[in-house]
């Protein structure tokens, strides 16, 4: 059960190629008591996932070498990791991105800049709501199709 009381038991994997962003998320989570492991790229994330089964993964979608979509794909195809909630984090905010991410199997969708004051509560609320996307019967995602163009609008 992922809730406020179990924070101490959390093992969160944070994946982001921007060191500042990594540190910010990491600090907020550590402050609240969670254990955080950080990696800076997709390959490293997969390696880490071979070693451990995290409680939660927070993933930046726009990394250079392997993007968050690919990692999600690997995740979904691994029975051990399939039920680990994955939260998407992104600096871009294009129309339709949020829906696409949730449809593809991400649990929650956050845009940068994060609001440090509300981030943790936001996260709890999203996790408590239950799965936004079950792993069955959803669009099968393929690596590399994440960055498809929607409308280029920033609201």
């Amino acid at each position: 059960m992922i809730d406020k009381n179990s924070v101490e038991t959390w093992q969160v994997l944070v994946v982001d190629d921007e060191p500042d962003s990594l540190e910010i998320v990491s600090r907020i989570l550590s402050y609240h008591g969670a254990r955080v492991e950080t990696v800076a790229e997709g390959m490293a994330a997969l390696e880490a996932l071979d070693r451990l089964t995290p409680t939660l993964i927070i993933m930046d979608l726009s990394m250079p070498d392997m993007d968050g979509w690919e990692v999600l794909y690997h995740l979904r195809n691994n029975p051990r990791l399939r039920s680990v909630p994955m939260v998407a984090l992104t600096a871009h905010a294009m129309k339709g991105d949020r829906e696409r991410a949730l449809d593809a199997g991400f649990y929650h969708y956050l845009t940068k800049p994060l609001n440090p004051l509300s981030f943790f509560d936001d996260l709890l609320a999203a996790l408590a709501n239950g799965s936004h996307a079950s792993t069955e019967g959803r669009t099968e995602i393929e690596p590399g199709n994440g960055a498809q163009t929607g409308r280029h609008q920033t609201l």
């Binding site: 921007e18 500042d20 962003s21 910010i24 600090r27 907020i28 402050y31 600096a91 871009h92 129309k95 940068k112 800049p113 994060l114 609001n115 440090p116 004051l117 409308r151 280029h152 609008q153 920033t154 609201l155």
Partner: protein, 476 residues
């Protein structure tokens, strides 16, 4: 060489007398086409007619009167077949000059033969042939050559007349004057017709030339316009790419600043004494303002570069306005203002438009309304317009109002009504600029009503169904 009166004054000595159908290099493709058709007709007619006449004469020889002249003529005409194939071959090879000259040579020979051999009553045929030959020369050959042909045909005619005596052909009961007249009269008649025809053709030729020039110019203009469009589109595309790249580069460090200051302010970065907290707060606040500016500036640039293509869909105006207003209730609560949302029930159930653009317009107008109102109320109303093809959204407030002279420039980027108001009220001065540009993209209008100190009303008019666009892009 005696000069025959010039039919047409011309600077080019090599041009035919009647240049309308001349075989010269100066023809435009259209004229050349015309000329080739004409030559083709001449050749084909000759090819068709000659054997027929030949058969006629042979038949006359065998079945009417076995006069040797008839036989001779029949055979001569048949003998023309190789000549006409020769002419045709040259025509096919594009050598019009040779083709036509072959035919004209044949006509010369035949006219001579007929004049020599035939019964006087049929002599006219010879004359006709000679005249046709002269006309062809006038049309088709350069001047000096034409003169030669005409002189030659006259000489052949005279020689043929004289030869009649030697061949013991039936004598002509006419004097020389009458004979000359027989030649000249039809020649002049046909010459007149030819000149008239020539003028017509010259005129047509001129028109053809003109229309070709116009056509070429039109094609060129079109090509240039296409090129200009391509260049402009490319420029817009590059601008948009630059904007997205810049947007990411600018936001990344700013996000870090906002994040870290937020952590410190949230007490998650260790203890902060009140002085430090105050300063960190200033940093955080300014960073958020900067982010706001960046977002708005880049949005404005995008709209101006027409990279914000409207995507039309069908939606309920009531739903959109109500939902969007609900999201902004907190702004009203923060300032203790009344917030009314009024939706006219007579609004159509569905309209067609770009939801995001309309949403953005509402957000900007409402933000402004809340920003510039200290006490009182803000009201948003969605309703019908006097024009049945339009609907309205109006945002009114009891705020500081806008002085009349400012109405011109409040829609300019970075302008607020009062230059000091940005410090007092915050804001980027871009909200209305963005609204204005977006409205242009969707063919909408905005109207301002305001009394300084009392309040303002901004009314936006939108099309119910953009003509044509809906069919192109409607997303169900």
């Amino acid at each position: 060489m005696k000069s025959i009166p010039e039919v047409k004054k011309d600077t080019m000595p090599e041009r035919p007398f009647l240049p309308a159908l001349s075989i010269d290099e100066e023809l435009t493709p259209a004229e050349r086409q015309f000329q080739r058709s004409l030559v083709r007709i001449i050749i084909l007619v000759t090819l068709a007619v000659t054997p027929l006449i030949g058969i006629g004469y042979l038949w006359a020889y065998f079945f009417v009167a076995p006069v040797w002249t008839t036989l001779g003529l029949g055979l001569a005409l048949f003998g023309f077949m190789p000549v006409s194939f020769y002419a045709f071959a040259h025509y096919r090879r594009g050598n019009l000059t040779r083709a036509v000259r072959a035919i004209m040579t044949w006509m010369l020979i035949v006219s001579g033969l007929i004049t020599v051999l035939l019964l006087p009553s049929l002599m006219l045929i010879g004359i006709m042939v000679a005249i046709m030959l002269s006309l062809m020369a006038l049309f088709l050959e350069p001047r000096r050559v034409a003169l030669r042909w005409i002189v030659l045909s006259g000489a052949v005619y005279i020689a043929a007349m004289l030869l009649r005596g030697f061949v013991k052909a039936p004598p002509i009961q006419l004097g020389m004057v009458e004979v000359a007249f027989l030649y000249m009269a039809p020649l002049c008649l046909f010459l007149t017709i030819a000149i008239l025809g020539n003028s017509t053709i010259e005129f047509l030729r001129g028109t053809l030339r003109e229309s070709e020039i116009v056509r070429t110019q039109a094609v060129e203009s079109y090509r240039q316009a296409q090129q200009a469009t391509m260049v402009a589109n490319e420029a817009n595309r590059l601008k948009s790419e630059f904007l997205s790249m810049m947007s990411h580069e600018l936001r990344t460090p700013l996000n870090a600043i906002i994040g870290f200051t937020g952590i410190m302010l949230g007490g998650m970065g260790g203890k902060l004494d009140s002085d430090a907290a105050h300063m960190v707060n200033r940093i955080n606040s300014n960073s958020l303002h900067l982010l706001d500016l960046i977002n708005n500036v880049l949005d404005l640039a995008k709209v101006e570069a027409h990279q914000f293509k409207p995507i039309y869909e069908s939606f309920s105006p009531q739903e959109l306005v109500t939902k969007q207003s609900q999201q902004m209730f907190s702004l009203a609560k923060n300032k203790d203002l009344e917030f009314e949302v009024e939706v006219d029930p007579h609004l159509p159930d569905k309209v067609i438009g770009d939801k995001d653009i309309i949403q953005r317009i509402m957000i900007n107008l409402l933000s402004n309304a809340f920003k510039f109102t200290e006490t009182g109320s803000v009201r948003i109303k969605a309703g019908l317009s006097e024009d049945p093809n339009k609907w309205l959204i109006s945002v009114s407030d009891t705020g500081i109002g806008i002085p009349p002279h400012a109405r011109e420039y409040i829609f300019d980027p970075f302008r607020q009504a009062d230059s000091s108001s940005s410090r007092k009220y915050g804001g980027t001065g871009l909200g209305l600029a963005i609204v204005k540009e977006m409205l242009q993209e969707v063919n909408g209008y905005i109207h301002v009503d305001s009394v300084l100190g009392k309040g303002s009303t901004f009314t936006v008019e939108l099309p119910v169904s953009p003509v044509g666009e809906a069919e192109k892009q409607a997303v169900a």
